[in-house]
């Protein structure tokens, strides 16, 4: 656990930038697949369900997982750590 303001700020920044990078990788991975391999994106994984549609729906699910994951981290780790720092500063 970080024990100072700076360290906590840096941790939050690292989490934010890593999650942003994951989101970019997911979305641009999807776009680049569509752009460079259309036949693969159009191939059927089940009757009526192409790989492209499946992955598109998964991109939407990924945004939900990432926002929930960040919020869980912020609620469980970041907020309590910040509270501790506030209490220490108040003493």
């Amino acid at each position: 656990m970080p024990n100072s303001m700076r360290a906590l700020a840096r941790l939050r920044w690292r989490v934010a930038i890593s999650l942003t990078a994951v989101m970019m990788a997911v979305y641009f991975g999807f776009i680049l697949l569509l752009a460079f391999n259309k036949p693969l994106a159009g191939s059927l994984v089940a009757p009526g369900l192409s790989l492209g549609i499946l992955l598109g729906a998964l991109v939407i699910v990924a945004t939900w997982i990432l926002t929930l994951g960040y919020t869980r981290w912020a609620n469980r780790r970041y907020d309590p750590a910040l509270e501790r720092l506030k209490r220490e500063a108040g003493r």
Binding site: G42, G48, L49, G56, W64, T67
Partner: protein, 523 residues
């Protein structure tokens, strides 16, 4: 980019679209009376500038989540994506995902710092501890450019949409939208605007949900059975990417504008000042992402439903751009009354979006330009409120005039222009100002100016303007959307100029820890 495209109905058809629909007018009047009732109630709670611009910081996380969704789900995303899917199939999904992936970025990078560092506008955050005037002017220009291009697209869409659905004249429709919107914002400020967004978001989501469920009920509640029926009827190509990704770089560049543009849209950013603290700001994005993502999944079902049950040719016969796919589908599934309901929902959608845009434009004019530039930050509460209301009326009238001026023009590109300016002019400066110790006044100013100007220039030189609108044979700049070039450029300029001017800005740089503390703890 999709937006509502204005084309008159072609020839007689089996639909009642384009004729006066009493059910639509009934629902619409109901929406107007409810929202004006809310406005009347909100007026009594709107006495200070903080209440006018930030609803007295009294909006809860859940309410703000719905309002963010209401602000974001425009008619373009409802009618446009459903239309695109119904006529081309898969490609609509590229927009749905693109418009959603900006929200996690807003959550990770922007929402909480913004809430703790600013008061009414994102310029508060960029200008904190720095020289106020140059930054406020540049940020206000970025805000107003985004707001005005977005407004033009919405107003022109409103005019032609309402003409198609209600049988009103284009000008009447634009004036009605403008007048009602001015009333919401002028009288009820942010409280009324927020509740208009919430009511609209609930209506839009329940309308879309009902429509999608009615579609699925015809296919044994199975989306894949629906897709299979579409592929049977129109070929397997409708399940695969098509023309929208003809040029990979275009697709990536558009994706960047959508992803980072959301984090630079002034009317979205402004919503984070309405909640009590940064935890509420955080939670509200989670709600918004859930709601908007569900909405885009529904529009995908609606689009394929319209393809199978109405047919691409019948949809194009009513409106070349395909924008009437969802209303036509509603008519097939629920007759004229359901068509009327969906038409009224679309109207309400446009009204709410223009209200949010106008309020954020008014904040830039009064809070950034008048109070902090003209009056050097010394303006009394009464004066601030008076100027804010004056700015609302000015922007509202401007929206009406621009809507009528651009009648019949192809304004679809203006939404992508707004996103590109937000992504390249506003977002990089905001990001650098919050997270980078060495960001200086000169650096942030250069980032905003270069980001906005290169975006405008490259869009002018792009195929969208040169080939599609000016009918030239070729375009100097190859990409339809410049974000791939302008976002990195704007960051680069911000960094280089900051480093070059760091010696003269030691005071600004030395207060980074103070900013960081405020970012985490609040003011």
């Amino acid at each position: 980019m999709i937006a509502v495209i204005q084309t008159p109905p072609v020839g007689p058809s089996a639909t009642s679209i384009g004729t006066t629909n009493p059910v639509a007018i009934g629902f619409f009047l109901l929406f107007i009376s409810i929202t004006l009732g809310i406005t009347y109630w909100a007026a009594r709670k709107t006495k200070t500038t903080e209440q006018f611009f930030a609803a007295g910081r009294s909006i809860s996380a859940g309410q703000n989540g719905w309002a963010l969704a209401g602000d974001y789900m425009s008619a373009a995303s409802f009618l446009g994506i459903a239309g695109l899917v119904s006529t081309t199939g898969f490609d609509g999904l590229i927009y749905s995902t693109g418009w959603l992936v900006g929200w996690p970025v807003v959550l990770f990078l922007i929402a909480e710092p913004l809430r703790n560092l600013g008061r009414y506008t994102f310029a508060d955050v960029v200008a904190l501890h720095r020289r106020q005037k140059p930054i406020r002017v540049a940020a206000a220009i970025g805000t107003l450019a985004t707001v005005i291009f977005y407004l033009i697209a919405q107003m022109v869409g409103a005019g032609s949409l309402i003409k198609l659905m209600f049988g009103l004249t284009y000008e009447t429709a634009v004036v009605v939208v403008g007048a009602v919107m001015i009333l919401y914002v002028l009288v009820g400020g942010m409280i009324a605007t927020t509740w208009v967004q919430i009511v609209k978001a609930v209506l839009l989501l329940s309308g879309a949900f009902l429509l999608a469920m009615l579609v699925l009920s015809r296919f044994g509640m199975s989306p894949t059975a629906l897709f299979a029926a579409a592929a049977d009827k129109y070929g397997a190509g409708v399940l695969a990417p098509g023309k929208q990704v003809a040029n990979p770089w275009d697709a990536v560049s558009l994706g960047m504008a959508l992803m980072f543009g959301t984090a630079g849209l002034p009317h979205i950013l402004m919503r984070f000042f309405t909640v009590p603290d940064s935890q509420a700001a955080r939670k509200s994005v989670v709600y918004a992402t859930g709601l908007i993502g569900s909405f885009y999944l529904l529009t995908f079902i609606i689009g394929f439903g319209a393809m199978v049950l109405v047919g691409p040719d019948a949809i194009r016969a009513v409106d070349k751009g395909g924008n009437m796919a969802a209303p036509l589908l509603a008519e097939v599934l629920g007759g004229t009354p359901f068509l009327g309901f969906i038409a009224a929902v679309a109207f309400a959608t446009i009204l709410a979006v223009v209200a949010g845009l106008t309020l954020s434009g008014a904040a830039a004019l009064s809070h950034d330009l008048w109070v902090n530039v003209v009056r050097n930050g010394h303006a009394g509460g009464e004066e601030q409120l008076r100027i804010a209301r004056g700015a609302t009326v000015v922007l509202g009238i401007m929206a009406i005039v621009l809507g009528i001026t651009f009648k019949g023009q192809n304004v679809a590109f203006m939404v992508s222009l707004a996103f590109a300016i937000a992504a390249s002019g506003n977002f990089p400066a905001l990001c650098l100002a919050v997270f980078w110790r060495r960001a200086t006044t000169a650096g942030l100013l250069a980032s905003m100016v270069v980001g906005t100007l290169t975006t405008l220039t490259l869009i002018y030189l792009s195929p969208t303007i040169q080939i599609d609108i000016l009918k030239h044979a070729s375009a100097w700049f190859p990409l339809k959307n410049p974000a791939l070039v302008t976002i990195p450029l704007s960051f680069l300029v911000g960094v280089v100029v900051s480093l070059l001017t760091s010696k003269r800005a030691i005071d600004e740089i030395s207060r980074f820890e103070e900013r960081e503390r405020q970012m985490m703890w609040g003011a």
